[in-house]
Symmetry: C2
Subunit: 226 residues, 2 copies
Amino acid sequence: MTDQELPTRLRPREPLDAGPTRVERKQITRLHLLAAALKLMAEGRGFSSLSLREVTREAGVVPASFYRHFRDMEELGLSLVEQSGVTLRRLLREARRDGIPPTDMLRGSVLIYHRFLNANREQFAFIAGERSGGSRAIRNAIRTEEAHFAHEMAQDMRRLGLLSRLSTPALQMVCGLVVTTMLNAATDILDLPPDRPQAEAELVDNFVQQLRVILLGARVWKPPRR
Amino acid sequence: MTDQELPTRLRPREPLDAGPTRVERKQITRLHLLAAALKLMAEGRGFSSLSLREVTREAGVVPASFYRHFRDMEELGLSLVEQSGVTLRRLLREARRDGIPPTDMLRGSVLIYHRFLNANREQFAFIAGERSGGSRAIRNAIRTEEAHFAHEMAQDMRRLGLLSRLSTPALQMVCGLVVTTMLNAATDILDLPPDRPQAEAELVDNFVQQLRVILLGARVWKPPRR
């Protein structure tokens, strides 16, 4: 009989009142390291200026334990990109689940995005800051996540029957433009001081108008003649 | 009789064979400091990770002399933004002077931009990288330069009779979108390896198509009803 086959409370390493297992603890430390890097960057530091030692200090672990999780800082950065990509795509999933108000779809989508942005400030600040930041490997990884996101957005639009006249490559080109416009707006929105509702409203309004221009253009878009 | 009124070769401080004057030397050191910071960033460093000491070392001057030119690193950064803003607007001036090929204006403009980008790589890498980089003061200064550029672009379009149906605020909103799309493309284009003409052509093509979507949308754009 192996440990796995024992009734739960007889298993030697996982009594009912046990804390996290060794594997769970390792997972938790990893998350702490990622969160520590995000926190340092939210304080205005670029990723390429972070040192391994600072990140471990912020996470409350000894420097040596870093290497049980990541080969180097670049690998940590790439994990952050992955994690942020998942967050970004969760936005689409939530919009799919909750639906978008049909009366003013564009403004409705922007308000969903705005709320989501505020709930995930650190990850958006990271993505927006590092997509043209110091590390080429990180920039490339972010480009891949953006493309992935634009691809899912295009599929959602297909499903909703939006811009159905466009070919798939054209629709993806348009979604790519929407995504870069979204991420540009992210930096501007994150930089707003908390007590400026008028400035915030103007910014959101400008963002809605820019997306409207893009979608109007997409509606009449034709592939160039060669 | 003042020095200014003397015939040139009698002026005591500027004999014909003189080297740079003290004022000129000061100007040259200032330019060296700015160039040193740009060079360090072109090597993949974010502005906020640069130290005063590194910049003076790269410029070949003693650290103490930094303060004859800038109060601190932030002031140097703001000067870099100003300098890059001037470069950016020179693009419009050159396009105005040389004219844009009337057959395919959009592709013609993109090719001018592409050439200009390659001739001013360091400044574009700085602007594109720091517009959502670590320092809020620098981000804000870059936003101001972008707005200034978009404003001049809107005036040029008015002069050329383009999108004449749009109100001035609408035209500026559209030009703002064009500018952010240009700066996004800048990072992608600057990141291309030098020996990938096919990837470069595709990127430029995608950029042309995205601008076309924006201009098509701008042509049919109407202000939202309130």
